[in-house]
Amino acid sequence: MKESIGDRSIAVAIVVILIAIGLLTFFPLYYVFVVSFTDPTEYLQKQGFILFPLKWSLASYRYLLSTSTFLNATSVSAFLAIVGTPLSLIITSGLAYSLSRTRFWGRRVLLILILITMLFNPGFIPPYLLVRDLGLINNIWSLIIPVLTSGWYVILMRSFFDSIPAELEEAAMIDGCNDIGIFFRIMLPLSLPALAAFGLFYAVAYWNTFFSAVLYINNPQQWPLQLLLQNMLIDSSTSGDAGMTSDVQIPSQTLKMAAVVIATVPILCVYPFLQKHFAKGVMLGSVKG
């Protein structure tokens, strides 16, 4: 069918608006990326007016990666993501799987108890006091254990396990498999796509750990990357250029941008996988079991 002139111009307008939105979203990231690779002298000459550097340089990265504070913080965040994610997945899926079995005695009560935790949030002083009483202040585990799972993820994953037919499990039972065997040998392999989606969500959350570190970690040696970034990027821009200035000839701006890039790269690396799975993760919630 032929399109009317009105429809044609609307189609063009839509493309233009979408491109504008795309550029607006993309530009800040692009700018940060480009400046972080700009040669320090070029940056100083052009006063930050850079859309494409004439001379690429790794000076900022070299300096940043030679400081022990930065490496320390990066390794703390990496530890959180690498150790925290599998623990979270095991605990979440174990509980979610059990709660998805109708023969689980007491599951209604447990589900209601979990729902209550989603509706009522005691604020952050009581959890803070709990972590303190457990002696976890300044302990890296304080950034993992209190956030191991959440009611939301348990409920979402449960509705995923609900969709796996019970016959599979009955067959395995007849073959003499117990529940733990069924869980690890049948249910988890069958739910790999869901595990991937939740795993990526958990990994991003652990990598982005910030506020629990503000609460629980007082020792700068143990800071995760996000907390170090806050100190580099934000506190310093209000109080001159303190924080992480270099004695070498590298402007603090390009250093800051390099730090942002390093903190973003892991997310960019998992992003294609995230994108493949996350729509599923989001939509899981709309299918209720």
Binding site: L18, G22, G94, T117, P122, F124, P126, I145, Q230, K288
Partner: protein, 319 residues
Amino acid sequence: MQIMTAQKSSKLAAASLKRRTAQSNLKRDKYLYLLALPGILFFLVFKYVPMWGVLIAFQDYSPYDGLLGSQWVGFTHFIAFFSSEQFPILFRNTLMISLYNLVFFFPMPILLALLLNEGRNVLFKKVIQSIVYLPHFLSWVIIAGISYLLLSQTSGIVNQVLVSFGMHKIDFLTNSHLFWWLLTGQSMWKDAGWGTIIFLASIAGVDPALYEAAKMDGAGRMRQAWHVTLPAIRSVIVILLILRLGQVLEVGFEQIYLMMNGAVSQVADVFDTYVYRNGIQNGQFSFSTAVGLFKSIVGLLLVIIANRIAKQFGEEGVY
């Protein structure tokens, strides 16, 4: 009398049978319980212990005496909070930030989803989608940091561009009139794209025959979007709107905490930042727990009301 005892004994029998089956169920499914155990322990320790912990809002809690030994003071902290001069300011800031979010941020994903739906070229759509979903995964620290790098008055590129066009510099980060806009803008950049997913999914469920029929009746693209696409996502919009209303007191704490500075504190201070300052930094545990509890209870009531309304609209609600 006999019938009564007979009934009673049969009831007792049923009860003991039930207990027996419960026991045998526990025994039969012991591995299932073992799988659930770490999760259950987590919820007990990290979700339910803090729920008892809110009781310190009614005490003069001292860490040495603990929850059991501290003195009970009733509603003293609540009264002190409601009569403090900070209370109306916190309330106004929270509501205004929420209102800005509701009016300016909330419609964005809907508009963007409609635009994306109209895009014809699949590759083009994929590229735009990949770009606008990305910021959702960046932490608030990164986003605040990028904001400082781009908008700072001394070295930010935005102000340098303004100057090169002969305009004045704008103090984006320290102007109390611009602060709520700044927060809304950041939220849009981070989450407007991500928010489209749920709308795009429900648009995808629309029967193509409806568009064909609309075309037959002479509807152009605008009218198709208005009469076919929009009604198809109306129920999603309604339920998200109601749920959002239930979250009115939930303003992005990390975001505000990161963007707050002395120049904007009068418009930036919200319940959570107040709790953080008084509780964690000044150690007034009981008082700030009371403030947090007030916020939680109002929030809980709002969610319950919102859920009721959602159900009256024929939607499923959250529980």
